[in-house]
């Protein structure tokens, strides 16, 4: 859907990016100290785009004005939190990744008695359901547990419900087929009005819970960690910290999956992994 046309940072030549950065940093510091949400190490250019969306929709004209509103009105903070943390996602996004996962990762997982998967930054859950279906089709679901986490309770609740817009099912069915799906995709959901309600059995072994990659620690040891298109919202320093969290949370020979345009290049952990199915960003921890 097209984004509403929004007001923007001032068009005139006296726009001062350095001043704007001061305002943004003060706002983020204030949010962190008052509400505990830490956006201070988010990638600046996309963060400020989202801030300006909230500024415009609140009828304001400066970042400082938004700061005033956010610090005094928790409702504005809630809106901003949604703006800053919702990820756009899709079922079987990048189908070729799922093909590689079936070919290269599933055979390894078959050798394990129990499989622990962490889906970090699962948003509204589309990719969690995609993975649950894949594991079912490979006969591994019953010995798997998927820990699906996100910073945002609202999207987690949506993920738990497993209700997705019916009008996206054509796209998802195409993706499912390209991803090597073995059945008819419509077997996995019931259409009702404008919704596709996914079979509750798919979340039998899924634990949804809130986890903040920025501030929370590792909570277990996993065989697979999926974190696709989440780190792109972080700056380099925070990316490095989260990479360290993932490294510590992976069993030896565990698998780390990143988004197709993310990489471990320039990360200090690059040498600790091997990329098992280039160009897919599927890495195996080898040391």
């Amino acid at each position: 859907m097209a984004e509403r046309l929004t007001a923007e940072p001032p068009e005139e030549q006296n726009y001062d990016p350095d001043l704007e950065r001061i305002e943004v940093e003060l706002l983020l510091e204030g949010i962190f100290r008052k509400y505990g949400f830490d956006f201070r190490a988010y990638a600046y250019s996309s963060l400020r785009r989202r801030l300006w969306k909230r500024i415009a929709e609140s009828g304001l004209t400066t970042v400082s004005a938004l700061q005033e509103r956010v610090l005094h009105d928790p409702v504005v903070m809630e809106q901003l939190l949604l703006d800053l943390s919702i990820n756009v996602t899709a079922m079987y996004r990048d189908p070729h990744f799922y093909v590689a996962f079936r070919e290269k990762v599933i055979p390894m997982l078959r050798t394990y008695p129990f499989i622990r998967i962490w889906h970090a930054g699962c948003s509204t859950g589309e990719e969690v359901y995609s993975m649950a279906i894949l594991l079912q089709e490979e006969g591994l679901y019953d010995r798997a547990r998927i820990y699906a986490t996100d910073i945002n309770e609202v999207v987690l609740q949506r993920a738990k419900e497993g209700i997705f817009p019916l009008d996206r099912m054509k796209e998802y069915t195409d993706n499912y087929i390209k991803a090597g799906g073995k059945k008819s995709f419509s077997e996995y959901y019931t259409a009702k009005y404008d919704n596709a309600i996914f079979n509750p059995g798919l979340t039998k072994n899924v634990v949804f819970s809130q986890h903040n990659l920025v501030t929370d620690r590792s909570f277990s040891e996993f065989n697979v960690i999926l974190c696709r298109n989440v780190l792109i919202y972080f700056d380099k320093a925070l990316q490095a910290r989260v990479q360290s969290l993932f490294y510590d949370s992976l069993a030896m020979f565990g698998i780390l999956v990143l988004g197709s345009k993310e990489s471990l290049k320039f990360s200090e952990y690059e040498s600790c992994y091997e990329q098992i199915s280039p160009p897919e960003k599927v890495y195996r921890k080898i040391r």
């Binding site: 990820n87 792109i232 345009k261």
Partner: protein
């Protein structure tokens, strides 16, 4: 490195980009970021362009460092933004039905590089890029538009010209040399004065 060149195109873009890329000098002194609307599956664009130039052409990845003489192509289904030092990708909602969006790239470039931004709008069948080019112009950057009379589809250049009446309108074959001239003026101002 002080500036950046950004190029946006849609329908007919491959031929137009090919002509421009092939005409760039091997010592082009700034990074170039390109948004070409294309389908999610089309991965060949970079290979096709790479065959035409000694400059390095790549599908941008998140946090790719920006360097002079490198051409970054927005991957399908991601927005591409720029920071001072590197490229930044997002999967935020499409803007005017497009992801990548030309406006998103252009605005990000002009907000980051200010007057040292060069924006180029080429052939295309929608109005993406016009608002972004206006932002570049408002911040004192340079604006070039392919002559709609020769564009494969004139809608995109026409809407860019409406948004930025002062933009330089040029035929395709003159855009590479003008780009190189403007980029050199930004990156090597002292050399120019001395020369």
């Amino acid at each position: 490195m002080r500036g950046i060149a950004v190029i946006g195109t849609s329908w007919g873009g491959l031929a137009a980009l090919s002509e421009i890329i092939a005409g760039l000098p091997r010592d082009f002194p700034m990074p170039i970021a390109i948004v070409q609307h294309r389908s999610k599956d089309s991965e060949l664009l970079v290979d096709l362009l790479q065959d035409l130039t000694p400059l390095c052409v790549r599908d941008a990845e998140d946090k790719d460092p920006l360097s002079a003489g490198t051409i970054y192509v927005a991957p399908p289904d991601y927005h591409m933004l720029v920071e001072r030092e590197y490229v930044s990708l997002t999967v935020d909602s499409p803007v005017r039905h497009s992801r990548p969006s030309i406006d998103v790239l252009f605005k990000s470039a002009s907000d980051t590089f200010g007057a040292n931004t060069i924006g180029v709008v080429l052939t295309g069948a929608n109005e993406d890029g016009a608002a972004g080019l206006a932002r570049i112009a408002a911040r004192g950057g340079k604006t070039l538009v392919q002559d709609p009379a020769e564009a494969e589809v004139p809608i995109m250049p026409q809407s860019a010209i409406r948004a930025v009446p002062g933009a330089r309108v040029l035929p395709l074959k003159e855009i590479s040399s003008e780009l190189a001239r403007l980029a050199t003026a930004i990156e090597e101002p002292r050399t120019r004065k001395a020369g």
